[in-house]
């Protein structure tokens, strides 16, 4: 009830963060990376926390002003100079070999820790430190593309972030039309799946009674969401995205909805790549919606199939691929003519759906997981492949990456655990009978299935 007491808490964090940013602006002197590395050395060697916080703030302020070159130079130093202390590690290892106990193992553990981990911990003590380190990792990720030698630094960032962005510290908030504009603006910017075209489009997605949007926040980032999901309440499992994104004349009333459709999930912080929140988000949102609408019967996604078109092109180049019957291969060649879906596409339906089914059930990565990344995510969460939809997304991107195919994954609360275990243990792709039947269906009957 008296939430303001706790609200003020977070406000305080926000103010601190802004103070840091303001300070950045005030110190516009260019700093050499040499200087940065030196300061980092000082920070690590200092024994007390008292001066440490000030030093950490100074480092982050300098970093914020640094050029791209100076940043990469800092990352290089982190990789080369702030690894483990091999001398100390050698000694600890000798001690363990002499007497391999938990105590000597603990010493080995400590000695083997890259020194940059402690550096990150101390930088995090600065006001606004967490946000600054997330931004730093964005730069690191960019640098990684050409500098594989920085990968160990990146692993340490992920290790620290996993601890700090522990699920226990995430907070789920509903996003609606009474959310502060500063947050909504970020939602518009971060939407990664189905682009939001300005404030009116945003409002269509969060304000009507049959739309929901939820995001995870973290106290240290305050008004900057980590991940969010958009949901539509519908009567049926939807087979296409356009009706969901379009302006509606008459929204569904609460009691008319039977199905919650998760049609877009966007990660917001590039700097937190590799720290996963989506699994928790979907389940917590499903609980939230179920509490509010006890009569909702189904939770499904309407998901893209990002790897399908590329895979299919490759498959079609393979002679004697078991994916198609010979006659299908010919039909599928129509896919190469631009705008094919506007021009009598029906003959393509069967072969395309059958190919997609094959893609989901049989196309695997080297370690046996499904080739499709979105499939890996939802199946790993315990969802089931429920339905494959033809001409479901005819946007430019939809055609380009999946020949318009979209799928629904079903989150059935009673089965999630079992599905998840089956997938985790044996990479089993759990699919509805409608989908598996597709594989066995004589071409003639296929068309009537969906």
């Amino acid at each position: 009830m008296n939430s303001s007491f706790f609200s003020d808490m977070l406000q305080t964090i926000a103010d601190r963060g802004r103070a840091l940013i303001a300070r950045d602006r005030r110190s516009p002197t260019e700093q050499s990376s040499a200087n940065l590395v030196e300061l980092c050395d000082q920070l690590l060697s200092g024994r007390g926390e008292a001066s440490g916080v000030a030093l950490a703030s100074e480092i982050l302020a300098h970093y914020a002003e640094a050029t791209s070159g100076a940043r990469v130079a800092l990352f290089e130093s982190l990789a080369s100079k702030f690894g483990p202390d091999h001398g100390r590690l050698g000694a600890a290892i000798e001690a363990w070999r002499a007497s391999p106990t938990d105590v000597t193992a603990a010493a080995v553990h400590l000695a083997a820790e890259p020194r940059r981990q402690e550096l990150l911990r101390r930088l995090n003590l600065a006001p606004g430190g967490t946000a600054a380190l997330v931004r730093m990792r964005e730069h690191l990720i960019d640098a990684l593309e050409r500098r594989a030698d920085l990968a160990p630094v990146d692993r340490d960032f992920v290790h620290m972030f996993s601890s700090w962005f522990n699920r226990g510290f995430l907070v789920l908030r509903r996003i609606d039309w009474s959310t502060p504009a500063s947050v909504l603006e970020r939602i518009i910017r971060y939407e990664a799946v189905h682009r939001i075209n300005g404030w009116d489009d945003l409002r269509r997605r969060i304000d009507p009674p049959d739309r929901r949007c939820y995001a995870f926040f973290h106290p240290a980032l305050v008004d900057d969401p980590l991940i969010f999901v958009e949901v539509a309440l519908t009567r049926e499992i939807p087979g296409a995205i356009d009706p969901i994104l379009a302006a509606q004349d008459e929204p569904l009333q609460k009691q008319q909805a039977t199905t919650a459709v998760f049609y877009s999930i966007s990660n917001c912080q590039r700097g937190l790549a590799g720290v996963s929140f989506g699994n928790f988000l979907i389940k917590q949102v499903a609980e939230e919606i179920a509490r509010e609408h006890p009569k909702l019967a189904r939770f499904v996604t309407l998901s893209p199939v990002p790897g399908f078109a590329a895979w299919l092109r490759r498959e079609r180049a393979v002679e004697n691929s078991p994916t198609f019957k010979p006659e299908e291969r010919a039909v599928l060649s129509k896919l190469d003519s631009p705008g094919w879906w506007r021009n009598d596409p029906l003959p393509l339906k069967e072969p395309l759906l059958r190919a997609a089914t094959w893609y989901f059930l049989n196309a695997k990565t080297r370690n046996g997981a499904p080739l499709d990344p979105v499939a890996r995510f939802h199946l790993g969460n315990g969802a089931r492949l429920e339905q494959i939809n033809w001409l479901a997304d005819t946007s430019e991107r939809g055609i380009a990456q999946s020949y318009g195919v979209m799928v629904n994954y079903l989150y059935e609360l009673d089965d999630i655990e079992a599905n998840h275990e089956a997938y985790a243990q044996q990479r089993t792709v759990v699919a509805s009978s409608a989908v598996t039947r597709l594989m066995r269906t004589p071409a003639a009957k296929l068309a009537s299935l969906f």
Copy 2:
């Protein structure tokens, strides 16, 4: 401004926490520790997060119901069965010895990590997990007294807590008469230095215009403070505690105060022992008060001297101790008679003050730090020993632990850094000239100094 958005966040966490507690009540079946260990094994071996959260919740719920014996048995298992995997560690070490690079060192680091660290991380994923783990550590600390073999488990708890209770996630809140009663009740309970006698006494400490109280909170514990400090605004550096605790007829008005006195700091969470917040708290509160009262000239403490009486008794037993002149030793023997301070104590003033000065400047631990723990804390923070006060705390405890002596530590913003470094590097005890002069003062003049 729109803090409610973020307030609701924390409210959400609070609700989750309560939900967990509520669930505990609902599952009253007694659980054996064997069962607990088995569940922990399952939790560690599980690959996916999906079932992990449910399992973690179940473990914490069972733990909450467990008997004291079952708890200790769990801790034993954590110590003996959830240490590092020595086989894996041996292999990693061989690889490092064959090729001692950062990459093989990283593998060693990973292999040397006690498995219980990952266990704690996974338990923390349960709703209310952090609070439950803090409670678990309280039990562990109790068990530690007779079970030194559990120390490695405790170190891992401290390691995890240091990361989770990172200073960047702490929030400073003022505590006053408009604070929720549920928080105030805890302040009464947690006050460890000068006991609060009920709500009227509490109000005297937080409501008048010349009193302040601030606490650190953490999002995962919501309305349960981590540490708090009580402050009095005064005209002078106070030489005794009673005038500060007594009911005042007329509180000081804002513009009359020149000095902020930190007269009580209490840690609230026994389960977080070893994770230090006090240093940050004092500095942040000083900043807060300075912002509000730009004319305040001084920030001092009025602190107990917990080790003084015990040390003095030991010193008096040492023949030829350099601490006293022979004639002083005789006078000090009066301290052994009960109620000495009520009965012409003046002749004791000089020798006692001189002994106290000696205690602060010369009595050291084995590694060269001051013997007094409170002195170590404030000097380590960069404060200076400013004033030693005679008959400053004549409560039973005050007489018993320090013959009534209290001291003021001064936090002078401009000197904090230098003082801290001097202490951190060479264990220098920075003291005011008034204090150091005490050591050199002819007895006759001493009395007039304070």
Copy 3:
């Protein structure tokens, strides 16, 4: 969701109010009432709002410093000098008589308005003005006791307050253990029916899962409640107050409760006497609880019978009163011996219950309403007299005012409207058949009824 936006609003009002109080303190010069009246004249004659607010603030500040004598002198002036302008009224009346239209009537209306009404409106423009005027009326009520000539002034206060404390501006808040201490302190102080003995007693009334407390607040008084009600959730309609007030070993769980008992309603602001909130409060709280506990079957009060003992004493003095049978009158004389209820009281049960029934059904005021004021309140709200309880309140006050009798009024949602109308039209006392049967019951059978 984003309630903080609106929370800050009210915070702003609170700050203003405090600023006013602070200002009062700063102007300690004693002000004569002559001066006050003069300032009021200025305030009324001023044309613009600009200077008006400052003037209103000044008047209220002076008033806050005024002696009791000066206050009464001000009230006298309000009565004698700030009534309607009879000259202007005479002219308006002549105009109406010449042409009795709505337009001339409006002019009469305006001219007949006592000038002090406009004065109160302008005083209310000062920051904190509403609260100051509520305090002013407290003084006026005190003065009224000996000064009936001030009654018209009082009527104008009530007229203004009825508009400002319009039900539409009242806000219902739950009071629980997370409510700010500053509010809880007032709840302790304002409880008028069953005294709250300190904070532990308070907690017993608001914190357990089977207790509720709700209050109405008004934006202009911020953290000062207008009225509050205490509720117990029980399995049965309670027949006595002690079990409800006592510490409970085991509170009822939510799903076990069938009955909500309103056992105490307290008006908080003496200065708002005559502006009624209780009716709205009971109904809104009943709705609130019903929403939270859809299975609750009954809403009843456990109410005092403040006029019963005095009436019974008078009745017993009346010869041939139809209230008793002759043999009962003799039995009832036992009531005159102190401590009668501790000493074989059973023979008194029948006659006392029958007398109470008679009191409720037949004892009337001059205009035909029930003699009992609490009965008038609940019956007027549409409740029904459900049950009369013997030895239900044996506190000193309970015995003194009602020989220990308490009653339950039942709020049956479906009947409220009809009951209310029956009472409003014909002063019908709607009572349960159990109560009405009491009147007709042979003495012998009565005892078994309750």
Copy 4:
């Protein structure tokens, strides 16, 4: 600090309001006005509050569904049937004439009150009643245009609103980029002076460090502002509007600003026309900004001159008008050619500025006030006419209504009271010496003055 307690209050009101609106939707049956009048009669005749609230809600729900014709019919009934009771008034007047005391005058006052005032009070008891009545008055204002006979009804609305929207209940809130989108959307919609072109334009006006926006809210309307003002912080008194509305490359930092410019004030609620808030708003915002920026030296407006062009056209038609010298009249004729300001306008500067000065100082309404409505508002508030600006607003509207002229009014805290009184008593137009000098300046020198 614990503002959430009070925040929840307003949230509650908001919920109620939405509940009412929701209910409206659910009862789509068309209601005749006859029915409405009948229900109003019932509401007035009912004695108890119990059924009254339900009845009031029903009336407002029916009203919300009513056609425009039915609404006007209701207003007619309010005018004709719900005026004062002339019979009762006649009796009261006779009593007063027999004995003209305050008591009989009070009876006259009561009897002369139009019955619709009590009706409005009772309607206001419905949840969401205040907002519904504000909407009802919007309809009434529309109807008034052709139905002067409804004016008395309108006066009663204003009378009630003046009491309910008492300044003491208004809350000032800063509007910025963290304000809920639902509020910001209304700011865009309500801006009446310088149109806001979408969300990006809005952000330019509220987010930069040298821009401010504040609004008054009322608890009963929750997230719907009553009036708001836009402010720019600048170095100089601005002489034109475009630089303020344009996107800025580099906003002013806090310490650089010397002047706060109120460049737009918009009333939001058409239904509250006649209840004035602007005076309070400007002064409270000035205080707020002064608290935040103690070094700000000046508070000025940049205001339109809506009546100037029309007046000047009339003046130019008057032969021998003292407003111009003969040669000026010829020059001013250039104003009639479209786009005159783009085509060597300089010769117009002198005569136009002199004419504007004359307009402000000498052009009066019948009762002696300045002809310009904006001038009346600011001069009435105690501001001073500080500067007249040439080609300050070349928007279509700016040219059309004032030939591009804008003025600055200066709010000098020390002079406000005196200016206000001078204006209130003698309609004195207080103007800076720069302005008054304009009147006396030889044409040749005028150009260099501004």
